[in-house]
């Protein structure tokens, strides 16, 4: 039987110590063997390792940073579309999601399908809106507050007990034990990710995570809970294990049902010593550890592609508990001409 032809575009080729999900997403789809696949990588920087992984990525185009706006991005996508008949595009960065969501209609006109959360879903799960999210959907969340200036820091002591978490609107999270540390983290985070900077109550417990996929109608297509076993100094999982945890799955179902979540998501949770689960973040995309879910029996990237193509997808019913992933680093040797091509022509 002939395999279905699929041209897939994906961002997040930064398979570094702070990895983007692009490469594991591509790997999951490629290894499924379901498609006659051509992969188009979309890269922001010239040293994203995925650019040079020619066994996984067939062609790479550099795209403008999200800060340049949706129209610059769409102009580039239109250029790429003239050369590659992209069927499905999977954005893998939080920071670019807004631009791709806004451009969803235009992408559709170009014949490019996505399967993204709605703007409302993206907005209401935002770290700065987590309090309201918790109240609306009946889930435990840490108390949080958005800061837009250093002047607000001294007042925090009236509302929070130290330590507190200081977080960027897209990435980065630090524990602060006093005002000075909040100031330091505020400056660092706002310089990198802009404002607001989010202050969150520090919830003591074990961090656990769930990867999930919602069909946009309130159904959970798949969900796999995981605990990080090895965490890098950037707080990223370098090893993790799948869990049997009905409470985590019930919470995931509740959130997906309540929000009618569309697309991939990662729930970052804290399990307190009393076994209470707090939602500390909802990432509106597939996480970089997605390949663990695939290894445990749920190929969520393939399910996402099928949903994007408008096909019916049967929910996964199980996964293997106790499956472990361990990341590793690997040195690739790159020819100067490849680096030159991406640096000078913006494609390779």
């Amino acid at each position: 039987m002939n395999k279905k032809k699929l041209i897939l575009a994906a961002t997040g080729l930064n398979n570094t110590d702070n990895p983007g999900p692009g490469i594991p997403v591509i790997r999951s789809i490629k290894e499924s063997g379901k498609y006659d696949l051509r992969v188009i990588g979309l890269a922001y920087e010239t040293l994203e390792p995925g650019i040079y992984m020619h066994d996984l990525v067939d062609k790479v185009y550099q795209v403008p940073y999200p800060s340049e706006g949706s129209s610059a991005l769409m102009e580039r996508i239109a250029y790429i579309r003239e050369r590659e008949k992209i069927d499905v595009l999977i954005p893998n960065f939080d920071a670019e999601l807004f631009s791709f969501m806004k451009a969803e209609k235009k992408l559709e006109e170009l014949g490019i399908r996505t399967f993204l959360p709605t703007l409302q879903q993206l907005e209401e799960r935002h770290k700065s809106n987590l309090d309201a999210f918790g109240r609306k959907y009946g889930v435990n969340v840490p108390k949080s507050k958005s800061l837009t200036s250093l002047a607000e820091i001294p007042k925090l002591r009236n509302e929070f007990d130290y330590p507190i978490m200081v977080k960027g609107k897209f990435y980065d999270a630090y524990v602060a034990y006093n005002e000075e540390q909040v100031q330091m983290h505020f400056n660092k985070i706002s310089a990198k990710w802009g404002l607001p900077v989010i202050i969150q109550e520090f919830v003591r417990g074990t961090e656990v995570n769930v990867i999930a996929l919602g069909d946009g109608k309130g159904n959970t297509i798949g969900a796999v809970p995981m605990r990080k076993q090895y965490i890098t100094d950037k707080g990223k999982a370098w090893g993790g294990i799948t869990l049997e945890n009905p409470d985590m799955l019930a919470l995931t179902d509740k959130i997906i049902r309540g929000t009618k979540w569309r697309g991939g998501m990662e729930l970052e949770l804290i399990r307190t010593p009393e076994n209470k689960l707090y939602v500390i973040e909802i990432n509106p995309r597939i996480p970089a550890w997605v390949y663990l879910a695939v290894g445990a029996g749920q190929n969520l990237p393939v399910a996402l592609v099928e949903l994007a193509l408008g096909n019916a997808v049967k929910p996964f019913e199980s996964y293997e508990v106790g499956k472990i992933f361990v990341r590793y680093s690997w040195d690739m040797i790159i020819d100067l001409k490849d680096f030159e091509a991406i640096s000078m022509k913006g494609e390779i």
Binding site: G240, T242, R271, V321, G322
Partner: protein, 85 residues
Amino acid sequence: MIRLKKNIAISDTGFVFDPSTGESFNVNETGMQMISFLKEGKTPEEITALITQEYNIDPLSFEKYFQDFMEMLKQFNLLTEKKEV
């Protein structure tokens, strides 16, 4: 009644795995036996009788070690107070 959590897995090498937390532990042969007895739902009295029959230890000394062991299992969140069906 305090019991071992129902889903705790133990292999014949003494590798103990709690699938709900992802934590794993190593126990020696005696620990392995005690966990297996707990899994079978045996009471502390029954476990004391079985161990003191097999090893050269008096019940009073064993009870002390057993209490310590149970305390450790509790600390590692491997016990539950619920009666599991």
